[in-house]
Amino acid sequence: MMALGQGKDQMSIDSTTAETWQVGVFDALKAGGVQQVAFVPDAGHAETIARAIADPEIQDVVLTTEEEGVAVAAGAWLGGQRAVLLMQSSGVGNCVNMFSLLSSCQLPFLTIVTMRGDYAEFNPWQNAMGRGTQAVLEVMGIRVHRVDHAEDVAPTLTAAIDSAFLAGDRTAVLLGQRLIGRKKWTR
């Protein structure tokens, strides 16, 4: 019997030591003038969420379901603020009808999606949405930038922020599971 999480290349997410790229996510959002961070938590977003909560200039919005975050971002823009939605790939499926708000109103939109069911996945229940995430976003009119290497995170995010808030585009940055690392199943 094979033990879980014992592979030689095991990378586990340790919430006590932030990966450099995770710090880069928050710094890019901050530099991009994002003032509302709406989220359904994911381990890959843990650092960004923690920093958003700690930052007095940013309003964090914890959501019960990801589609709320699409509407929160729309309301933020109506009121003159930039928002980001942080979610896991499974949450993209929850958003589909609410994405119609973005195209109907030609709203700027930025979401950062941490991937599951994408690379070295352990849980088969993640695979359906992991396989469909990019296609679902694109079919709903959202431009997708995918990142699998740490050095690409900040530049890609900065580009997506410009596309969203300068050109009014709808953009998603997918953070691949190769970047995030395997989930640690053993405690």
């Binding site: 919005v61 509407a71 929160v72 729309a74 309301g75 009121g79 003159g80 708000l101 109907s104 709203l107």
Partner: protein, 204 residues
Amino acid sequence: MRTDTHPSSHSAVVRIERRDFVADLVARAPAGSLFVSGLGSPSYDLYAAGDRDLNFYLWGAMGGAVPLGLGLALAQPSRPVIVVTGDGEQLMGVGSLATVAARNPDNLTIVVLDNGHFGETGMQQSHTSRGTDLAAVARGFGIRNVHRVERPDQLSELLAATNRPGATFGHVLVSPDEPPRTMPNRDGSFLKNRFRTGLGLDPI
């Protein structure tokens, strides 16, 4: 045979006419209030009360009225934000009441016009006719200023409650009668840019 358990069918002597109520709400809300309406009848009611640049009418995105109002309230803390929606739209996005309570902005007021039915689709009974009490739901999610409005004169109490700390939830029991449709503009991009311009913001 199903029994209609909608509270208005038992207790209200004077059933609230939704259009009159929304007209009074708009007339008595503080100047410069920002209104968001949920799809269907609430958008027709808000438009019938008089079109304003600072009205944002939803024609879709069911369940999105309250979270959109939350993002707006957080972005515009000095202005009252009033979300007017129906029982069906609120039920679809019911978790957003927890999301509101977690931030609890003073300037956000949610007014649910509860007729106990899905008015836009053939007047099927909604959950509020089958046992759900949206005021209790809002309280359970952590919203502290929750007011049930069963008579038109209770609008004053609801407006007074909006001055207390935290978000306000008004559960307004309205007649299931359907007033004539009065339809606002349905170009979302136009409504968005008009709204932003009304706040002194550029379209992009």
